[in-house]
């Protein structure tokens, strides 16, 4: 099955297919495969069926059910859903049901999408493998012995395995793009501020951004269009840029200036670097002018990120104190109760980052750590601006390696942190970036190529990504998932965009 979101919406809107049939196919795929994959923490079969019936009723009544009519969508479990558990894969929030929906959830429903479930993640989105989930890891559909990446590993795996056509994740340091690359799907981090964060449980507020997972650039764009735009509930949200439009996706890259960033290839696995160079050749062949470039400041992004993100996290996560919601471990005083609750409720990685961040903000250390990291962030923003004087988009690896084995990095936080080395710079700069699957390494594991663009230049980024996608070498069908029994290889991306993949 593995249907395109665009094809599903077109079929449902025209009455050719019903939202309920589409949903049942996906629910049974989840039923069949998620036991092994563990992409979902909650499956919302009943409410999804109700939502699908409502879409079908509206189609029958001649109403417009929206551009994503009947498209099943999965949500990372750090997006608030009214009356539905939102755990952030943490014991500290187990059983908590928000009294409100995140803005993106309201917008998806308004666009006609059907919410089928909440996906697994690293606890509070802190991690690069989804192994930090308090409810057990998610597996990579291409190799169940390997991680799907993280922190949005559940959403990435669910889309890769065809359990849903599209999903939402959040990207603070690469948490959409890295798992998308490791699972062989498209993943995008929008410009900071273009998608409302209202209802996204905060990890690092100045870096967090919600974005789509999809099996094609076109579907990612459709999802981004549905969730983006100004939200009065988020003070950092921006007006939707006027230049952005789906209609210009196929405009090509003739005359486009592409910079291949040396620092986004340094230290990257040669098999991955090779794919990035091939993608650069694809763009050159399509009429872009491609040049190597260097942004030395990018080398300082990771250390700056691992001060700023934990600093913000240490404050954002202070509210899990046992007083109002979630876990409470009783003790003799409020302070003791707070300590005991947090000791029991948080996993080791979350505790590590809270401690790092608390230290970075402490009196006497602030200037040396948090203050210094903010200065580095400013340098990185300026460095990207300079790079974009000579380039319209930049190209690099999404991840330094392909999917690694479960357990191989859990005891080495620094090695795990390095998984984000190519994605973190865009979070610090606030600029958009997208990863497109581009063939495999020698082991047959998916490789992602990352296209970066200046703030609010998503349209240009999508155009370049579409050209890369159209010429991408195939990614094998995942071993786990809706297509697995078909055998054989997936068709190339160009056919996907046309809506004819694998059926």
């Amino acid at each position: 099955m593995s249907e395109d979101a665009s094809a599903i919406a077109a079929a449902v809107r025209s009455g050719e297919a019903s939202a309920s049939e589409v949903l049942e196919r996906h629910l049974s795929a989840i039923e069949q495969h998620d036991g092994e994959l563990h992409a979902f923490l909650t499956v919302l079969a009943d409410s999804a069926r109700e939502e699908a019936r409502e879409i079908d009723r509206r189609v029958a009544a001649g109403e417009d059910p929206g551009p994503l009519a009947g498209v099943p969508v999965a949500l990372k479990d750090n997006l608030c859903t009214r009356g539905v558990p939102t755990t952030c894969a943490s014991r500290i929030l187990e059983g908590w049901c928000p009294p409100y929906d995140a803005t993106v959830v309201r917008r998806l429903r308004a666009a006609g999408a059907v919410v089928v479930g909440k996906t697994n993640l690293d606890e509070f989105a802190m991690g690069s493998s989804t192994e930090n989930s308090a409810f057990g890891p998610t597996r990579n559909p291409h190799d169940p012995g390997r991680v799907p990446g993280g922190s949005s590993g559940g959403s990435a795996a669910a889309v890769a395995a065809g359990l849903v056509p599209v999903a939402l994740g959040s990207d603070t340091g690469g948490s959409i793009r890295q798992p998308a690359a490791l699972c062989g799907v498209v993943g995008m981090k929008p410009t900071y501020g273009t998608v409302s964060r209202y209802g996204l449980v905060a990890f690092a507020s100045s870096l967090d951004q919600i974005g789509p997972f999809a099996s094609s650039v076109a579907d990612a764009v459709a999802l981004f269009e549905a969730i983006g735009g100004h939200d009065p509930c988020d003070s950092t949200s921006l007006e939707r840029p006027a230049s952005m439009s789906l209609g210009r996706l196929g405009d090509g890259v003739v005359g486009l200036r592409v910079g291949v960033v040396a620092e986004l290839l340094d230290g990257v696995d040669p098999a991955v670097a090779k794919r990035v160079r091939e993608a650069a050749e694809v763009l050159a062949a399509a009429g872009a002018s491609v040049e190597e470039c260097s942004i030395p400041e990018v080398a300082y992004a990771l250390p700056a990120y691992y001060l700023l993100a934990p600093a913000e996290a240490s404050s954002n996560l202070a509210r899990y104190d046992g007083v109002r919601y979630g876990l409470r471990v009783d003790a003799s005083s409020a302070e003791a109760m707070n300590g005991a609750t947090r000791a029991k409720g948080f996993g080791p990685e979350v505790k590590r980052r809270i401690m790092l961040g608390t230290y970075a903000l402490s009196a006497g250390y602030y200037d040396a750590y948090y203050g210094q990291a903010q200065k580095v962030r400013t340098l990185i923003i300026e460095a990207f601006k300079r790079a974009y004087e000579n380039a319209d988009v930049l190209l690099g690896a999404t991840t330094p390696t392909t999917a690694f084995e479960i357990g191989s990095k859990v005891d080495d936080p620094l090695a795990m942190y390095l998984s984000d080395v190519c994605t973190v710079p865009s979070n610090l700069s606030g600029d958009p970036a997208i990863t497109v699957p581009f063939g495999t390494d020698d082991l047959g594991l998916p490789v992602g190529v990352q296209v970066l663009a200046p703030a609010l230049q998503e349209t240009t980024m999508f155009q370049a990504a579409t050209v890369v996608e159209d010429a991408a070498p195939p990614v094998p069908t995942p071993r786990i998932g809706a297509d697995a029994t078909d055998g054989g290889e997936r068709a190339a991306g160009g056919e996907r965009a046309a809506g004819g993949r694998g059926r």
Partner: protein
Amino acid sequence: MSTEGWEIVIGLEVHCELQTATKLFCGCRNAFGDEPNTNICPVCLGLPGSLPVLNVKAVEIAMSIGTALNCEVRPSLFHRKNYFYPDMPKDYQVSQYDEPINVQGWLELPEGERVGIERAHMEEDTGKTSHIGGGGRIHDADHALVDYNRAGVPLVEIVSAPDMRSAAQARRYVEELRAILVAVGASDGRMEEGSLRVDANVSVRRAGTYELGTRCEIKNLNSLRSLGRAIEHEADRQVSLLESGERVLQQTRHWDEESARTVALRSKEEAFDYRYFPEPDLVPLAPDPGWQAEVAARIPAMPAERRKKLVDLLGVGAPNDAQADQISTVVTLGLDRLVVAATGAGVEIGLALARSANEAAADPERAREVDPSAYAALLRMEQDGKLSATQAKAVLADLLQNGGHPADIARRKGFEALGADTVAAAVAQVIAAHPAEWERFRQGEDKLQGLFTGEVMKATKGKADGKVVAAELRRLRA
């Protein structure tokens, strides 16, 4: 204990709850005394995923306060002040730190001294904890209940320079500040409801020296009386420590009203590390000059200016103490426009001040709403002898309660001024009934005038005008 030979140095931090319709970062009602936990939402409860949106009205009020306190109003930032307390939903308070919206102003006390204002910054209030059962205090209660209605209510914290030198001066500063906050519409000025909360920084030094002594911060000052007593007590404590060769430790101390002493809460070493950093969920707040000018243009006349206007109306140079008190009262309560309206209608300033500072001031909220021309007409009726003082007070009470026109109210109440003949007849009757007293009065025993006036009032059921009675008595005696 005497503080003779010592100088007390006082700086005050005043927290003012802003009178906005809604809270600082959400649309919840900002109201005192509602059913607990009814004015709450995901934002002011700090639920996961919620985000703050700044209340523009609160910013305008903060700018008004800064402007009224002669501050520079400037681009500012919000920070997070991180610490754990169960009534603080996010376990950090959104406040302004090193870039507050108002800096470097001053406030002039009625006597002319200036107190520097270091800053007046915006922040959110916390919830309220009640300790229930057991001993009912924080350490021995069975449990604690938290009301989050107050969480997220907008505050402006006004930090003075250490410019005050006595408890009395500190009280006058708070009184004047309160009058200013009421005048700009920032506050209802009710200290007893916590609308205004004061912390005092107190230190002492040998008279004639300049180096500041070690200070203590005193919290829980819920009234002007507490403020004055606490400062005096704290200064005594510090002087006696220093005179006996001990040191003052930098501490935060709690004023205990019952035992009338301050108790140490925590020392400098135990002070919290608040780990301030810029609030990433809000954007910098930079009011443009146009907006600032618009807000400044809407600021009404300040208390000092309004007091001066009343003093000018008195026209006697410096007012005496009683007059100064009356002027201060009507200005603080915002009733000076009634005085101005009444004198404009030809009412003597003395009568206008007396009725405004006493009868009207007894019900200030209604008095602020009353039609000034009706108020002026009433006082004019009293002055012209159409109503006795007692009658005028009764009509005023009715006017404040129900509105309307004083002449109609007087008619309804059956208050008609007695003609001079009727009064004269009543006086004659009373004199006839008290011949011995009349003789003593004639010999110069002036205090008996009260007796005769009282008897006339009794006979006329209070309808006679006291002034007319007095005039008649004087005429007959002469």
